[in-house]
């Protein structure tokens, strides 16, 4: 009732109107700034270099797909290979992060064994370690053992760095599942592994999806470890490909934008198709991690 009375006062409603416009404007400007680079890059990628340099902000007068054709068909750019490398690295890494995260999460929350605490502390330390202090050392170790510059090289650090958060999320989820479930399964004659994969794993699906979402983005976007561990252009992931392009293309901005858009495409498509679930997963991961 009281609110309605406020609404009827003319001064108040005028103030509300101004407030409404200002607040909406602030949020609209912010949202526009978030999507603007993408839109700008997209229509600029349809321009030729000369047209872009003459007018950096205008819409393309005669849109062309030449930049896309040049980048995707020129074998010197290794674009197809880079995309394949990124897809393979990301898929394999995410698969093992989720699998290992599930196994570790289960054992840490359910099984009392020597070393349970130790593994827990190791993972906790892994969360705290500033990851870039490992940049040079990991190169030294990998180089010394001859495992750098291989198709599987990047999966090792990606899986390792993804594990702590995966384990913490999954184990806190498993702790909510009553142990009676496993006891009943074992009375029914279900083996330990059978219980683990056929009964517990399906229950953990939501949290495993959350982990997979978070890790897909971080594996796809990871740059610094790829930079030091991969020298062979045929094994490079997309962030490295973008770096290589920018060196070659110099000031040909439409071409760099095209390359950026191609490498971002899988992420953009995934994000705008599943934004609700992705945001939910990322936020849950951040808060609980």
């Amino acid at each position: 009732m009281k609110k309605k009375q406020y609404g009827m006062t003319p001064g108040r409603s005028f103030g509300n109107g101004v407030m409404s416009v200002v607040l909406n404007l602030i949020m609209l400007l912010f949202s526009a700034s978030c999507i603007f680079p993408l839109v700008w890059m997209f229509y600029s990628s349809l321009k030729e270099k000369r047209q872009f340099n003459a007018d950096i902000i205008g819409l393309p007068k005669n849109p062309t797909l030449n930049n896309y054709i040049r980048i995707l068909t020129n074998p010197d750019y290794h674009m197809g290979e880079s995309l394949m490398n990124s897809i393979r690295t990301t898929l394999v890494s995410v698969f093992f992060i989720v699998l290992f995260g599930f196994i570790l999460g289960y054992f840490l929350s359910r099984i009392r064994f020597a070393g349970n605490k130790l593994i827990w502390v190791m993972l906790l330390m892994g969360m705290l370690i500033p990851v870039h202090s490992l940049l040079v050392p990991i190169y030294v170790v990998f180089n010394g053992m001859g495992v750098n510059d291989k198709w599987f090289t990047l999966m090792i650090p990606y899986i390792a760095f993804g594990l702590p958060i995966a384990v913490f999320l999954i184990q806190s989820f498993i702790q909510e599942i009553p142990t009676a479930l496993e006891e009943a399964a074992s009375i029914d004659g279900c083996s330990f592994s059978g219980t683990l994969f056929k009964i517990i794993m399906p229950i953990c699906r939501p949290v495993m999806v959350t982990v997979a979402v978070i890790q897909t983005f971080s594996c796809w976007n990871e740059f610094s470890f790829a930079l030091v561990l991969i020298k062979n252009v045929r094994l490079q992931t997309v962030p490295l490909a973008v770096k290589q392009f920018s060196g070659q293309f110099g000031s040909d901005y439409p071409k760099i934008m095209t390359a950026l858009l191609i490498t971002m495409a899988p992420i953009i498509i995934m994000y705008f198709c599943f934004s609700k679930q992705i945001i939910k997963g990322m936020v849950a991961g951040a808060v609980k991690g």
Partner: protein, 295 residues
């Protein structure tokens, strides 16, 4: 904990691979870094034991400490910029005036899903002196004399590389904070409003205390995230001009790979490790301090 345990060999079989892999990628490199930090080593077959000399150099290395300072500056800007602005936006978006909330969430969060490399290139094109949007904009509003080669300005460069980071993560923290504020009972805010608290008072005295543990989480994430700033700086400036935008990870990379000084690079890595642990570990205490006050 389960009462009936699997066989010890089963447990071992399940755990050995992930634990070995994790140790190999995280702990072995750390130990190796400590080992090589005692050597003069250029990456080749020859290395000479020099004891603590690398660490003595590190203590007096002005560039390294300058980089550390830049990391802290970045952290400060980003805590204020990312978490601070995100909180203001949360208050704005939660008012009943703002429409299109779903769109603001989706678009606001979007930049945080893009790689720091791509963000770096995008902003480099915005800052570019001849074809950049920033200078174009200044010309367009008649401030043409303010245009400059932005990333060559040593005084501004740290702030300029921080802006993309801030912009990228506002939406991320906004969504995290929104998940916390949406759990607050609407009646509490409404009754505060009826008691005559204005929007700012409500934000500071009603909402903030109720989400302070989430704010603390955001600050910890923000600090640890910015202590490891590397990708976008590598792309935008490589630490330049001079060392004006050098951060610790960038410096370690340069010494180790551009100058092939692996021994000293290892010592820098140990330095990054220690300083990073101190800063991030110190930040971890914040939620506990908050928790104590609550009790």
């Amino acid at each position: 904990m389960l009462s009936k345990k699997p066989k010890a060999t089963t447990t071992f079989g399940y755990l050995i691979v992930p634990v070995a892999l994790y140790t190999f990628a995280v702990f072995i490199p750390l130990l190796v870094a400590v080992y090589y930090s005692f050597f003069e080593w250029k990456g080749g077959p020859n290395k000479t034991f020099i004891g603590l000399e690398n660490y003595a150099t590190l203590l007096h290395d002005t560039v390294f400490w300058q980089s550390f300072g830049h990391n802290l500056y970045l952290v400060l800007l980003c805590v204020i910029g990312q978490v601070g602005i995100a909180f203001i936006f949360v208050m704005v978006i939660s008012t009943r005036f703002v429409k299109l909330k779903g769109i603001h969430r989706t678009l606001g969060f979007f930049p945080s899903t893009i790689s720091a490399v791509a963000i770096g290139y995008i902003w480099m094109m915005i800052y570019d002196s001849r074809r950049g949007i920033l200078n174009w904009f200044l010309e367009a509003i008649g401030q043409g004399d303010k245009t400059q080669v932005w990333l060559n300005n040593p005084k501004l460069v740290m702030t300029l590389v921080a802006i993309p980071l801030i912009w990228q993560y506002i939406g991320y923290y906004m969504l995290i904070l929104l998940s916390a504020t949406s759990a607050i009972d609407k009646e509490i805010i409404e009754s505060a409003e009826l008691d005559g608290a204005n929007a700012v008072q409500r934000a500071i005295h009603v909402v903030l205390p109720m989400v302070k543990s989430t704010v603390a989480v955001c600050i910890v994430l923000c600090v640890s995230g910015n202590m490891k700033a590397f990708d976008n700086i590598f792309v935008m400036t490589e630490g330049g001009p001079g060392n004006a935008s050098m951060v610790m990870a960038m410096y370690g990379y340069k010494i180790s790979f551009a100058q092939q000084n692996m021994g000293y690079g290892s010592a820098i890595s140990v330095g990054i490790f220690v300083l990073g642990m101190l800063v991030v570990g110190g930040m971890q205490l914040i939620p506990k301090l908050f928790a104590k006050k609550e009790a």
